[in-house]
Structure formats: C-alpha cells, structure tokens
C-alpha cells in the first residue's frame, strides 16, 4: 500500500522533492539546511532562525546571505528546506511516540 494517499505518504513526497529533485541550490546544501547542521555564516544564522525562532528573521538575515553570493532562488529553496526539516522532526517525533503506544494496544491495528 506504498502509494496509498495518506498524510504520511504525501509528507514523504514533499520531503523527497525538496531534497532530491531539481533545483538551483546544490543537493548537499539543501540537506544541510533541512538538518540545520554543518552550515557556515551567514547562511547558518538564517537557517537556524527558520528552525528555532522564525519570528526573529530580519531583512538583514536574508540580505547577508544574498551578499554572500547565493541567488534569491537558492535562498527560496534553502529556507523551504529548513522549514520542512524542522517541522518534519516535530511530526516524526510525535508519530513515533504514537506508533509505539498504539502498537502495544490490541485494539489498534497498524495501517
């Protein structure tokens, strides 16, 4: 049932597309933004804010990344990867807790 249209499957499709599909930013950089790990300034600061405190992103955070040589299309992709990465970690953490509990409940069947 791998192709079943469930939120978990659509989520996987979103993640696979932004990390592995065509784009302007190199694949390893997209992966690093998704993981919020292994980045250098000034990109590190922008991506970490998207993951940890997005309401604090400023014009200058994005301006500094532009001045470092990345294009707007690359920044578009990397910010999206960072957002999906952090949100996916929350989603998967919660699903994992749910799956562990419901797997031990005889009233529930794994789907």
């Amino acid at each position: 049932m791998a192709s079943e249209f469930t939120a978990r499957n659509v989520h996987n499709a979103v993640v696979t597309r932004v990390l592995q599909g065509n784009g302007e930013a190199p694949h390893p950089l997209r992966r690093a933004a998704f993981d919020n790990a292994g980045l250098e300034e000034p990109l590190r600061r922008l991506i970490n804010k998207v993951a940890a405190e997005p309401t604090r992103v400023t014009d200058d955070d994005i301006g500094a990344v532009k001045r470092s040589g990345l294009t707007e299309d690359q920044i578009f992709e990397l910010v999206i990867c960072a957002a999906i990465g952090q949100s996916s970690r929350l989603y998967e953490t919660a699903l994992s807790a749910l799956d562990k509990v419901s797997a031990s409940d005889p009233g529930e069947h794994a789907s």
Binding site: F5, V18, T55, V79, A82, T93, A94, K100
Partner: protein
Amino acid sequence: MNMRLEVLNSGYGLATRVLFAFVRMVSGHATPDAARLVFYRPDFYGSRMKELTHHVMRGASSWSVADRELMAAYVSTVNQSAFCIGAHTATASLAYKDPAAVAAVLSDIESAPIDEKLRATLRMLGKLEREHSVAESDMRALLEMGVSKRQIEDALAVCFAFDVTNRLADAFGFELLSSEGFAAGAKVLLSRGYR
C-alpha cells in the same frame, strides 16, 4: 510591504500574473502572500504542499473542518505567527459561526468551552510546538480518553502543515491583511479549500 525575496513579489509568469489580477478584480483584495508563495516555482514546493494541506484540512477526517481550522489557528498562536493567526482565526470563526468560542480557545485553552477530546488534542499540539517533543504517556492519555489513533494522526498532519507555513510566513515576511482581508480569505478557504 513586500516579501523579503523579490522573486516572491515579482517573479511570476504571465499566466500567474493574470490570475492574481483576476483575483483582485473579483474579490477586491490582492492575492494574499500565503497563496502567492505556492504559485512561485510550484514544482519545487507549492504543488505538493497544496495537495497535502487540502488533504489534511478538507479530506476525510472525524475532526470537522472547523476543528481543523481551530487547530491551525492554535498552532499558529503558540508559534506567534501573525499572518497565520489572522487567517485561521477568521476561518475557524466562520466555520464554527462562533468567533467568541474561537477567541476563548486561543486566549485560554484550559477554560474555553470546547469538547474535552479536542481540548486534550490541542494541548498535545501545543506541547509539541513549545517543547519540540511529546511523550508516549501523552499519546496514551489521549487514546485512553477516547481520541482515536487516526484522530491523533490527523491532528499531527494539520500541525505539520501549519508549522511549515508559520515558518515560511515569518521568514519570507508575509504581509498582514486587514480584518476585512482575512474575512474574505476565510470565505475562499471554506468554499474552495487549499488547492
């Protein structure tokens, strides 16, 4: 006010610009930034994310559309994401036809006059957003009070969709709408969904 990437303000093809102009002509309002974002290079993000969001917000679920819009508003409130708070408070208020109840939930989840299963589910989503984790005991407690596994999965999918959107709204700098603008957007989201 413009979004922080110029491509998101003016980088659209002719067909999309015509669509934005048509929206303005018919509704009297500019296309909100949340909608503009998913039209920019839609093959990268927007197309699949619209499918996901429409599926979780309007697809089959034992949570009502109003309940799911309330979850979106609640997650956005915990994240202090202003655009999404405005959009989904308006949409939940219209869906329940009860703005006072929605306002009560968003100001104090514990005292608000709502169903206990919905309250407990919102509380779990709030914990996930604030603490970045939830325990197996949190999930067991929900199941024991009669929230089904499927209902928890559905709520977590709503939370994912709006957690992503909150981050992008704040990073790219979505322009806030007037209350009339959010109300007009709410009507569109209830009549057409997210596709």
